[in-house]
């Protein structure tokens, strides 16, 4: 029998695990106005970002695509777009991009609606009406096969590769192999040297080629980014990784690749572009760079929940999706309990089985899908929303 959870089914058929009214500025200039609107809406959430101005080409395309993907995301019930009026990424394009999914969406534009205060008043009226329609909407039965979990590690230490990442990998295997769900692995700069391992898991030759070319492209970009004028700025891993016992990028990647488990890799997705309808399994997303940009891209691909491992500890969260924080380091867990949902440290300290830990983590993923709040949600952490740049 198919396993179920209680969520929300959206107009485009995708299912959400949260039910937010998203307030999305189309350009950073509209942020304060958007924030004042979001604060007055029940279930309102602000998508704060610094982009939308002075951009061209792929860089502007990433911004447009990502902001539209946030509005279309199944954890969002309705959207208020807040524009300035002169920006290159027009609020109308954001509005239309979201509207295509038949989701309720409204728009206010500061230069047209009379400046900040009248725009705020109008935005609040639109948002409160959405809230009245949507916030009390009950959850309905959804299939676990419709869940997509994003995997990420941040603040890695040498325990991440021994306990937390393998536990996330075991959880992904249960979600994908037993329940037909999906997962995403990304941050390709932290997969250098695992290309053979990943290509072996590719569903076909074409996907294997995509994996090699995506990883080599990132490696090329890293080499170009190294600057001999600033030798101290060229490390590929952080001081925290070093003091946590990780000595090289390859050591980090071999520990990191475990978090995708062992399922076949069905495709390589572009940044914030969801898979084809019906396509399920483990995906690789083509992106490098920092925690926020990667998580934002994976949520843009449709992930409803994030499984985030950290050996050193990280307090971050995402505005419209629950982030489950997992450590495999008992010392870190004791020190930063408020920032963690799950401790896989018993794999090291008590020899607990990775599979049993993966099953416990899978149970937590289902509880979170059903509405259990994560620590990052309780804190209100939202800093992982960062639109990737391509300069």
């Amino acid at each position: 029998m198919e396993m179920k959870f209680m969520g929300w089914r959206r107009q485009d058929g995708r299912v959400g695990v949260r039910n937010y009214i998203a307030v999305i500025p189309s350009v950073f200039c509209a942020t304060k106005t958007a924030e004042m609107i979001a604060n007055q809406i029940e279930g309102g959430v602000l998508l704060r970002h610094p982009v939308g101005c002075g951009q061209v080409g792929l860089d502007l395309e990433f911004t447009a695509r990502t902001l539209i993907a946030m509005g279309r995301h199944p954890n969002v019930a309705a959207v208020v777009v807040v524009g300035l009026g002169c920006e290159r990424f027009k609020p109308e394009e954001l509005y239309e991009g979201i509207k295509e999914t038949d989701k309720p969406v409204g728009m206010v534009v500061i230069q047209e609606d009379g400046g900040t205060m009248p725009t705020v008043a109008k935005g609040i009226r639109i948002g409160q009406e959405f809230a009245r329609q949507e916030v009390m909407r009950p959850r309905v039965e959804c299939e676990v096969s419709e869940l997509m979990v994003a995997t990420k590690c941040g603040g890695t230490d040498a325990t991440s590769g021994l306990s937390a990442n393998p536990a996330v990998g075991a959880m992904c295997d249960i979600l994908i192999k037993e329940h037909g769900g999906s997962g995403i692995l990304s941050e390709l700069n932290e997969l250098l040297s695992t290309e053979d391992i990943l290509a072996e898991r590719a569903i076909n030759e074409e996907v294997a080629k995509k994996i090699y070319s995506a990883i080599y492209e990132v490696e090329d970009r890293l080499r170009r980014g190294c600057d001999e004028r600033y030798p101290a700025r060229n490390h590929l891993i952080s001081p925290g990784n070093f003091s946590g016992g990780v000595s090289s990028i390859v050591e980090k990647t071999l520990g990191g690749v475990h978090k995708s488990g062992s399922a076949l890799i069905v495709d390589v997705l572009e940044y914030a572009v969801p898979p084809q309808p019906g396509q399920k399994g483990m995906f690789l997303m083509n992106s490098d760079s920092h925690d926020g940009e990667v998580v934002t891209g994976m949520i843009g691909c449709g992930a409803q929940i994030v499984a985030f491992t950290s050996g050193r500890g990280s307090p971050t969260g995402f505005p419209l999706a629950p982030v489950i924080k997992i450590t495999g380091n008992d010392f870190t867990y004791e020190k930063m309990k408020d920032n963690f949902d799950f401790n896989a440290g018993a794999i090291i300290s008590e020899g607990a089985s990775i599979n049993a830990m993966g099953r416990k983590l899978f149970d937590m993923v289902i509880r979170v899908a059903n509405g259990e709040q994560t620590q990052a949600e309780k804190i209100g952490a939202d800093e992982l929303f960062c639109v990737a740049r391509r300069l």
Binding site: L192, R223, I249, V250, E251
Partner: protein, 92 residues
């Protein structure tokens, strides 16, 4: 004092110490007891073979870098003595 440690794959050339260890502590390996030549923190690596200069270092069954200089077993292995060229200009 005997320290708990872990060798992940049989061809690895390092072990992980599973508790904070002091110089002179020992770990048990399939190839016998090794005495630590440095203080080594929880989850860091210790050499379980004698390395020649340039020799590869294996963890998770894969090469994670190479030793700059000849290094005896029992030594703390980290970024001060192990190098890795992936993603950097060093290869060119």
């Amino acid at each position: 004092m005997l320290i708990r440690s872990l060798i992940i794959e049989p061809n690895d050339t390092v072990a992980i110490v599973l508790e904070n260890a002091r110089k002179g502590d020992t770990i048990q390996t399939p190839r016998g007891e090794i005495t630590l030549l440095d203080d080594i923190e929880f989850a860091h690596k210790v050499a379980i073979v004698d390395y020649a200069a340039g020799a590869p270092v294996y963890k998770y069954g894969h090469e994670i870098g190479y030793m700059e200089n000849a290094t005896p077993k029992g030594t703390w292995i980290h970024s001060h003595n192990m190098k890795c060229d992936r993603g950097t200009k060093a290869k060119f």
